[in-house]
Amino acid sequence: MNAMNTTSNAHPHLKKTHQNMAWVLAAINEMIEESIYHCETFCHTLHTHHNLIAAKVFEQFCPQFLSEQALIQDSIKTISLPEIPPWEIPYHDYIHPVNALTHAHYLMSESDAWKLMHEMVQVHSCFYSYLLDKNQQPEIESLLKALRKLNMECQKICRQHQSYNDALPDDLDPPISQS
């Protein structure tokens, strides 16, 4: 994956509050929302571009993210979440799901779609690992472990669907100008 260069010097909008349960919940929730939003949006545009197979991958995968979100919801209960400025990045080397999505293509194959999904799932997994690494609070730890377990299953699904031999079909129709 081609990550955007944010590591060279300290990023101006780095989050530093991983010890706080409410912040962790909000940050994870934010990330999952982002993934769900893009999954839905790309599912729709792939549909519009008649790539139903790839669209289906995005559609199928949304529920996985939703179940991650469900775990968060269980933990929230009465905690009121902070508003995290949308420009803050959770940690150094955080890779935004957008990185993967740039490689979507209207003729993408099913396995390409799964590869993309996999990359997005990995974004989640990296964040969970990072938080686990930094955090010893039992409450947060057990949530993160549960999330990671779910995430591992997602990764497995993604890997299972990636095969090597479905290359991109040729684009037989040149694009048509619109305006």
Partner: protein, 288 residues
Amino acid sequence: MTHASQTPLEKITVKTVKPTEYLSNVHPVWCPGCGHFFILRALTKALAWLKLPKEQIGLVSGIGCSSRLPAYLNVYGFHGVHGRALALASGLKANRPDLTVLVAGGDGDGYSIGGNHFIHACRRNMDITYIVMDNEVYGMTKGQPSPTTPAEWQSKLTPQGTGVARFNPMGIALAAGASFIARGFSGDPNGLTKLMTEAIQHKGFSLIEIKSPCVTFRPEEKAWQKSMRSLNVSPSSNPAEAAKSIYSSDGFDTGIFYQADLPVYEPTNTPCENPADVLAEIEKELNV
């Protein structure tokens, strides 16, 4: 499933305004992977963060893939003709200074056919935010070179490349009198959201020149992901310094290059309490 769908778990956040609230029920039909998707997302996040009421926003655009933006938002929008969005927005802002006026478009729309309006919108410095989704190509008409296309890029229309130097939008904006000049990148949604909130809050004409890959006609632009730097520029209010940073940048730096407190053009807008009397007074001048 809809683009603006409310997930069943939405209630868990306490944020009073969600980015998706700013979306209409029209789905974007940009090519999968197009940078414009992430600009749309960043914009809704910025609007939500600023908690701007939807009905207080006027979003104007021209023609192009990028200019499709207004239809995707649940605000007062105007999808006009090619290149004239800034002029239309100036009329809107003149009559309705109470609205937050945003303009969106592409590099062709803003810098080529709309070049004159771009210069004069900068010069007027009205309180308008201009979001340019620069993919260095005419996407919608399937891949002709734009004013920001590198000279050597070959296309059907320019088999040998354009042979013409590129246009420097930020340099021109600075020379023409814009008071906020920033570069963003669609692949850096967080940084972009920051720039958008700053630009909208800035009083005066704000240009955000956003590099946004056209994955269909300029697939090589996907590599921008590797070379762009996130918010590494620090703003200056001194035009000479800003010019230096604009001209010395290799094009991969992002952030606010220039932000200054310059006079904002605000045509008079004092409501008339007694139009009939004033009109009678005006007509009196005609009496012989």
